[in-house]
Symmetry: D2
Subunit: 372 residues, 4 copies
């Protein structure tokens, strides 16, 4: 166990910067055995915004060049847009600094593999931020599957519906560009679902082996924020995929940014020979469980004291929110660094997901099934 606080540097101060800063700030009160952390430096380009973020997120200092930071901190959080994942992460790893990188790991499989190789070479902890693994209900779900409570797995379904692009006047952003993002709904939302599926059923089904993918772009160009010009949308607005697992289980997956009325509707369903599970992120405290001796799905409020992480929080029925997943994730990640133990999801997990993303894109290009 390290006794000195870990100096943390983060690249990115928007949505993910806020989510992780909050998680770090909450650890001492709720996870007193987590390693001490010093929120050291926050990295970005816009000095004014950066200063403001450092103030609100309570970081000691700011930096505009990540190269000055990556070997100067104990942990480097890469929370920037996808095209900034590779270079700073690899540099940090080469400097021997543990890295926590947002998902998807990279815009392309090739970059992701280089990142995982760098982590392997450096032999330091490298985590990929699939935070939904840390929903208590999801960990409870995985436990049920691993214990064989669902029997042989036959069906896995995952989908992630958002609606923020339905309006064609929503401005273009880096998320609509293939160079900057790699893909659209596929990498942004699908990466989450595919990782969750791997996490929850992977031990029972074996890996995903074959894939048939479908990408679609409903609106082909969007105005810039200033409304002055139109810019091409070069990524998918939605994807779907059929997947065959090693054990023969059938997977059906999809995500969209055109899911009118759905804000953050991420669902996973599993059916096995003995039972079934249903999870919905918008009701993340609940898991619907079909047991082998029951007649229907049981709505379990996964907030009991012996549920994953719940003893750290509130009495049963006092529900958690989305942000708690980041607290659990950071707790595990920092504890792994401090204790020199394994952390999952690792960069290797990030690559596994990227292989499936890549296979889905290849399949869509070729119009045929491809092996992962």
């Amino acid at each position: 166990m390290t006794t000195e606080p870990l100096n943390v540097g983060i690249l990115g101060y928007r949505f993910m910067g806020k989510a992780h800063s909050n998680a770090l700030a909450r650890l001492p009160m709720f996870f007193p055995n987590a390693p001490d952390v010093n929120r050291d430096v926050i990295v970005g380009r816009n000095e004014e915004a950066l200063a403001d973020a450092a103030d609100r997120f309570d970081f000691d200092r700011t930096a505009t060049d990540w190269q000055d930071v990556v070997d100067d901190v104990d942990v480097f959080y890469n929370l920037g847009p996808n095209h900034l994942h590779h270079e700073p992460s690899v540099a940090a790893l080469e400097a021997g600094t543990p890295v926590f990188c947002e998902k998807p790991l990279a815009p392309t499989l090739n970059e992701a593999e280089e990142m995982a190789q760098a982590a392997d070479d450096a032999d330091v902890t490298a985590g990929c931020a699939f935070n939904y693994r840390f929903v208590p209900a999801i960990q409870y779900a995985k436990k049920l599957v691993d214990e064989g409570k669902l029997g042989e797995i036959h069906h896995v379904r995952g989908r992630y519906l958002q609606d923020w692009l339905v309006d064609p006047d929503v401005p273009w952003s880096w998320r609509n560009d293939t160079e900057l993002a790699g893909s659209g709904a596929l990498g942004d939302l699908g990466a989450h679902t595919l990782d969750l599926a791997r996490f929850v059923v992977g031990q029972a089904t074996g890996p995903m082996e074959r894939v048939s993918g479908h990408l679609q772009t409903f609106v082909n160009e969007r105005p810039t924020t200033d409304g002055e010009e139109m810019r091409s949308v070069t990524v998918d607005d939605a994807y779907s995929a059929q997947i065959e697992f090693e054990n023969g289980a059938m997977g059906t997956f999809e995500a969209t940014r055109f899911g009118t009325g759905h804000k953050n509707d991420h669902t996973v369903e599993i059916q096995g020979s003995k039972g079934g599970l249903r999870f919905s992120l918008e009701r993340l405290n609940e898991l619907e469980v079909l047991r082998s001796d029951s007649r229907g799905y049981e709505t379990v409020l996964v907030t009991d004291e012996d549920d994953p992480y719940l003893d750290h929080w509130w009495p049963p029925g006092h529900v958690l929110g989305w942000e708690h997943t980041f607290v659990h994730e950071n707790y595990e990640f920092l504890s792994a660094i401090a204790g020199d133990s394994e952390f999952a999801p690792s960069f290797e997990d990030g690559v596994r997901v990227q292989q499936i993303l890549d296979a889905i894109q290849r399949s869509d290009d070729l119009g045929q099934w491809v092996t992962v």
Copy 2:
């Protein structure tokens, strides 16, 4: 309007025989303007079972050879297993007798096309029994789509989960045989879903154009009923499909007989640029509707007096059951015969669905997308 009662002959006296007999029996009390019907003759092979069925379903007589019946009745209902759909239906049509045939129209596309051709040549009413079109909530859904309430359609999802084959000891039946059934979950369940999708959104999306299919058989042989031998399962236990509609909408479809805990869980979901819909057969009196000016799905109990068919039944909130779809379907079919008007779903609709089933099977064989 015919004034003589229509003499009806039905082939098949099991599940579907009961469902249609019940529907015919209920018309006079609830649909007094339906044509009069005489339940004339019931056709089958087992004379004892047949006599019992004729007694319970209140038919005048029985016959063991459909050839004696098809030109001797005013309407012929083909409610037998799939491999018996073609020959008797064509014979009836050639005799100028209107035909109502259970779904899927035939085991193969070729046979289905011949049946539709026969209906066309004979120029008599030929209906395909996609009864779920006649759920009031489904007709209300179609109306909303046709009126443009959902805007441009982007996503269509349909799935049909049953669980009666999960146990590998469930005996082999004709439904497990490719010669007798054509396909498994695909034709039995998928045909319903694909027809519903065509019915509800077809006018807005245009036809389904491209398909990527996946079939899977989880249990490859099953015992005969007497337990004496094992017989091969030569159809799918489950299918999934990705479909692209003419307007670019994405469809994802699946069905299974391995949906543990799901008895008759047939759901359809649609999202358009202005709204959305969700339907579940196990709660068939309800439709979830997302309207353009609302913030979430509204659970509509489709039992008001001005909802489709509801003025024939009970006051609002006094819910209907599964069997009512058959009453509505028979009412429309018989009224079309009596009034010499069009009936849909027709054999042509049956063929359209069969083309998609066929495309899904071809796609699965080839491992690539195929055009419908």
Copy 3:
């Protein structure tokens, strides 16, 4: 077992007349061992409407005076408004004719008691039409309670929400008049709920002992149908009640005709030391069950072959509707007559409910708890 068909006469040809006629018509096909029934005579005042009803409901003849009918039929169904329950029912019983009477048994407790006395004196079957006892999910619920699966019962909740009087322009009817109806939502809706509670938990809780009631009328006069005059509403638009059972269990009950947006929303909830139950009439195929070894309510689709009455109908998941409760009810009632066995709910059950209705009204008058 009688071998001659039972000649049935019914008083009333509107909503309940239709519901029972339909039930009688459906027995032969689905309950072949039910006694044969001849729909003999339908009684009412408006000859034209009567003739039309006889035609649609397939009765042999009509009559405008119930006195000519009550001793001329084998079974007398009293389906008229509440103030017509007493005299014809008593006359029929005195003539030795079994009677089936709609609920509530009478406008007043006194009349109800006289009716039960008449049934007792005549020693013939006298049934009170609490049809919701015959929902399969309700019988399954009662079985769970009787088997002790819920343990000691602590809480019973029942409520029945309709909304057809929210609009103050809805015309006055006999249901708004204390002379003709006895009470409003209390007797019309509350009677159902209180009977259900007695039926499902009565064996475990013992009788309802003390009551505190509250009646409210929100709109005090309504236009006549022709809009010519306003007439006073002399019954409750809504009631609520707190009830203490013999075993100390707490009951809370209410019903309203001002439940905006609720059409026929009748729910019952029970919690015991080991488990719980929830039922909703608008989803009558389902029962939510909390078992002693489970973590949450399980949604059971009560449509399996071994569920109450389900072997008579369709395969699992092919849901029943509201009207099926009448088929089950008539099956049991007619079988009791034919087999000379007990039928429940009897007139005695009708009196028990009436005692509670009466206690709720007295409590509201007095402003204090009263014993039942």
Copy 4:
């Protein structure tokens, strides 16, 4: 606006101490315009537990006598058990120190009134901790009612089900003692529900005027924690109440600690002449809304940027948890102190609720309706 940080002292370091400490800790990052707070001193009796709490909750110091604290801090949080609400709160107020006190305000109406009088005399901010007012969905609900979207209110229902006392072996605690707690489920849970009802519909219905109450104790004695002796339970395990509002609306309320399977199931339902609302605490991000132009309840995810407080947190669909209500509550309370503005719920609101609790108890004693 004060520029110096407010020195906060809290009495109580268990559940509520943790909830408020967390809230204070989170304000700077999410509510940057909240007054600065210094977590100064934490008060309790057990020095070891206190030191540990001060460490985890990040307070500067501890104290074992509240009398040393109440005039030494800028704000005093009284988070102790009910019987400790009166004396320290009054002392603080008399010292001119703003007080935030947990609910119910006091074990008796008399004490509550004295506390409100003290607040009035001192003319400093005195808040009562009805945190559920600060659920965004609840504030959205109130807005809809206040805007008249529901029309004239007819029905208000509230209930709060927990199950932590079902097992008779659960040890006795101060919550089971009338001297220490005042009442049981009534004051602990019912106080929340009654305040919520007042908050959401009070402007439309006017005050609660008449009450009929029912208290029940299912288990009359419980073992002490060490198991050495049995101690009497002198409060209710459950209550129910019927309430009449000034405008004639009917209220039905209940709460229990014997709600098997229900952890923190707090629900409120409202029906007016034009619409309705349903809220459940276990799904606190959602509000079900029946609008005047809709056909059913719409499930609104109250997480949009323009929903109450949501612009401080995460993008739409990234749900909040139970604890966020405390952050909002503390933000408003501290802002009121700093800005010298009104804060509600005040001690006066606490008294209003206490009057109803008192009326329910009196009604139960007398067996009759009482006026509030």
